[in-house]
């Protein structure tokens, strides 16, 4: 933060900070879901494709509902649709992984391809755009503010708080941690391990859907390149946040910081031009490693 401010005094302006947080909301919300999946010992590589598919489908549904219904109703139906698809995708992942006893890496790598393909098919390779009037009606969800705080930031905060509460203060959260720490022990202690896992994927799906709900009004469209590589960013946020990739222990708060950090690096690079544009990704890489190194110091 200090470095960021030194590099560019604009960094600390309220409007810039609010921009940064708003952007962090997408990856952040997805990463909260990923925290559950990873703590339980799983992984979901498909989140980016899933976001693209959900965005595309929900736009198609809303466009199809046409102007016959009021736009508020249409948007509400679109949102429900998105959440339903997200939950269904999560359920599919969880079921195939637990019933089929296949590595989550493989299953979600498979659906990564499948989801994106289906979207490409739906959009015939192009993009799917929300009708203009709907787009205007929907846009406050992203651009609007409540008490001076942009809505995506509020949603992000709510999701993070709820996620933290579920993880640390409910039975389910405890079971997620126990399952990730030692699946056998959890099983012997009467935890329904399969169900716990399935639910983590459903949570992940719902988080992706929620992030998509905020994403659609921002850009008003979906295309085969929507959400590309979001999975890496989301997982990176989780792991920078101090959750172990092999599961068992982790914290939502760390994930939130991780997501904000990733976006901040990008923002600062955009605000300054000290280095060749070709090297942006290199700077990001170096900062990520350094931050992970410092995080580690704090934990031990």
């Amino acid at each position: 933060m200090v470095v960021a401010t030194l590099l560019n005094h604009d960094f600390l302006t309220i409007s810039n900070l609010s921009n940064v947080l708003t952007r962090a909301a997408f990856i952040g919300i997805i990463a909260v879901g990923a925290t559950f999946v990873i703590i339980s010992g799983g992984i979901d590589l498909s989140v980016g494709s899933m976001a693209a598919l959900i965005a595309g489908s929900m736009i198609l549904v809303m466009n199809a509902l046409g102007p016959s219904l009021g736009s508020v109703a249409i948007i509400a139906i679109g949102m429900l649709c998105a959440l339903a698809i997200g939950a269904a995708a999560g359920l599919l992942h969880g079921t195939v992984i637990t019933r089929g006893r296949i590595e989550p890496f493989i299953v979600t790598l498979g659906t990564l391809g499948i989801f994106r393909s289906v979207l490409t098919y739906l959009s015939q390779g192009g993009s799917i755009s929300l009708n203009n009037d709907l787009s205007d009606a929907y846009s406050p969800v992203f651009y609007g503010q409540l008490l001076g705080i942009p809505i995506p930031i509020l949603v992000f905060a709510a999701v993070a708080l709820l996620g933290g509460l579920i993880l640390n203060r409910t039975r389910y959260g405890r079971y997620v941690q126990a399952t990730g720490s030692n699946e056998q022990v959890a099983r012997y202690a009467a935890v329904n391990v399969a169900q716990v896992k399935v639910v983590t994927y459903v949570i992940q799906g719902l988080c992706v859907a929620l992030a998509t709900l905020l994403y659609v009004p921002r850009l008003g469209s979906a295309s085969p390149s929507t959400g590309l590589l979001w999975e890496l960013e989301a997982i990176a946020a989780v792991i920078i946040g101090g959750t172990a990739l092999k599961g068992g222990a982790g914290r939502i708060w760390g994930t939130v910081v991780g997501a904000i950090l990733l976006v901040t690096i990008e923002n600062v690079l955009n605000l300054t031009s000290i280095i060749s544009v070709y090297l942006n990704a290199a700077v990001q890489g170096v900062v990520i490693i350094i931050v992970a190194f410092m995080q580690r110091g704090k934990r031990t």
Binding site: N8, D10, T13, S15, N16, N19, R23, F26, T120, S123, Q124, G125, G126, S127, I128, S129, N132, S135, S139, Y143, R218, L219, G220, S221, A222, S223, P224, S225, T226, L228, L229, E266, N267, N270, L271, S273, V277, Y278, N280, A281
Partner: protein
Amino acid sequence: QTKQVMGVSIPSADHGWTAGIVYWANQTKAELEKMYPGLTVIVKTAKDANEQANQIQDLSAVNKINSLVILPQESAPLTRPVGNLQKKGVFTVVVDRALTDPTAQSAYVAGDNPGLGKVSAEYVGKTLGGKGNIVVLRGIATVIDNQRVDGFEGVLKSKYPDIKILDKQYANWNRDDGFKVMQDYLTRFPKIDAVWAQDDDIAVGVLKAIQQAGRSDIKFVLGGAGMKEMVKKVQDGDPLITADVTYPPTMIRDAMRLTAKSMMTKATMPKSTIIPSVLITKSNAAQYYYPNSPF
């Protein structure tokens, strides 16, 4: 004279053509800042539509730009963000990929994607004498790719109905995929008269695959965009690369020049400037060859 800031937002250099865009944007920045002392040009590259939307937000909020020259990663998702800037009084010039809502762009400077497809189809049709089997390698699933392929197929259908497209697969504007897809086409089709690769990067892979298979039935490979290595081949009379179709990355230079001129001299900028795709053959190749550009 007042200080003016021009923001330029372009895709990051992830393949040959975008590398050309980055190169020409930086060249032109130097040129314009020398020409107009009050002008600052800020060039930003973005890896995807999302980052680009973030970026132009930063350009407006932090760098306080007066005008924006943008080559959108994708049209639809950037329409609203560019529109927002325009509403804040930024003069928005969109390059290459028109926004879905044309009112969001103050001016438009573009290459001609359907035109590239049409010019290519004309060349293929004419050179094959209106008859033959061809294969098509597509780019990445995007609007641009659809426009080019639609333009190409439209001309073939109406003017050269006896030319048969055996198959079209995505090669992602990428040499490796061009090689792989072509290798499989060669396995699958015993007789191919010509290849429309649509893009010079893909064409590089296609050439290698043909070379490896040692096939002599293919009369020519038509790429697109005007990569310097390909233009050189045309110039040198390569047997397979007999022509190329331009889709020049210099369009970013043209757009920046026009924008700067209108900002600094209050000259009005034409609402729409189309840079046509032209056919490069041995006779005119020299004028499209830029040895210093990365592309």
